[in-house]
Assembly symmetry: C2
Homo-oligomer: 211 residues x 2
Amino acid sequence: MATMLAVIAVDLPLQPGPLDALLRRAVDRSFHEITVDGDTSTNDTVLLLSGGDGEPLQQVPEPVALAVQHVAERLARMIVEDGEGMSRVMELRIRGGADEAHAREVARAVAGSSLVKTALAGGDPNWGRILAAAATVDQELDPQRLRLTLGGIAVFADGLPLETDQAALDRAFSAPAVKVELDLGLGDGEARMLTSDLTKRYVEINSEYTT
Amino acid sequence: MATMLAVIAVDLPLQPGPLDALLRRAVDRSFHEITVDGDTSTNDTVLLLSGGDGEPLQQVPEPVALAVQHVAERLARMIVEDGEGMSRVMELRIRGGADEAHAREVARAVAGSSLVKTALAGGDPNWGRILAAAATVDQELDPQRLRLTLGGIAVFADGLPLETDQAALDRAFSAPAVKVELDLGLGDGEARMLTSDLTKRYVEINSEYTT
């Protein structure tokens, strides 16, 4: 999560149990998949309210579950897009992790790396920083198995950087939203993480106000 | 560690075993107690060389152990003081951790927080950010037990911010080296961490070169 208070309301009476499960699942796949600067706040809160006429339901209708998920993802993305001083977002996807926890840990490391985030700010498709950040959490990663794609363009595979159209790559990495996909080649673990870049404006905003 | 190659040489023949132990101890109390931006490099290396006339010693003389420790600390500090775009360092000490690992984890979180590091850049004695960063690794921290001192001035104790001389505090937090001491009030765990601030110049340097 990042610093925020979020409220989602469902116009349908639901039992507390299924409501709680619904919220946890939705938060796990949205608010827990974003990071701005890695810092969190004591007041980070997501509330899911439900109410309406009739007996509270024990079962959450599928369209309601999908709608809550959609709204949670939308709100979470808005937080990143409103990140302090941000100029673009990175949509990071890790595949091929040993398991989901492993993939998520790598995703957090890449999305949290100041070097990756400043490269993103500069529109610099610096694949080395991305691989180095991934390796900070797992030194056993095998370069031969890694496959990295930036903005749909494969840049690293079989242990070597690939020949690419540099102009196209620069363009892709300067877009408002940059897709970064890293396959670790180990297992079925997958994770997503949405993050903003680290800009001079971020530093300015956070170094110049006293609280 | 941060990105670097360090070589320490001892003009005295020592057996590989004690040499290895000596280096590990020294690195643990120097290079492993610094962070610039949290990123590490695949070529981070510290070498300890030993040579000279005579039979290699099995025992490391105490003055040699102290000298190696001193040199390691000195070199490690130089890395932070040479951090990209840095304007001041924070000498962080965590006391009262549940154990040493716990204290070290808290130290890493505080020293690695972008909000703490931008506050440091701004010379802003923002104690709230320091406590919030500590709490990211241990949500069970009891505010009643915490005691925070910035540049020798106590700012938080018994669950409350303390009355301070704001001008003196601002001065202390704007010095080239700022001492930050946080007592968690739990046990005997202690840790040190030396870090640089996060400045606009850091972002400039790291977003504007392509590798």
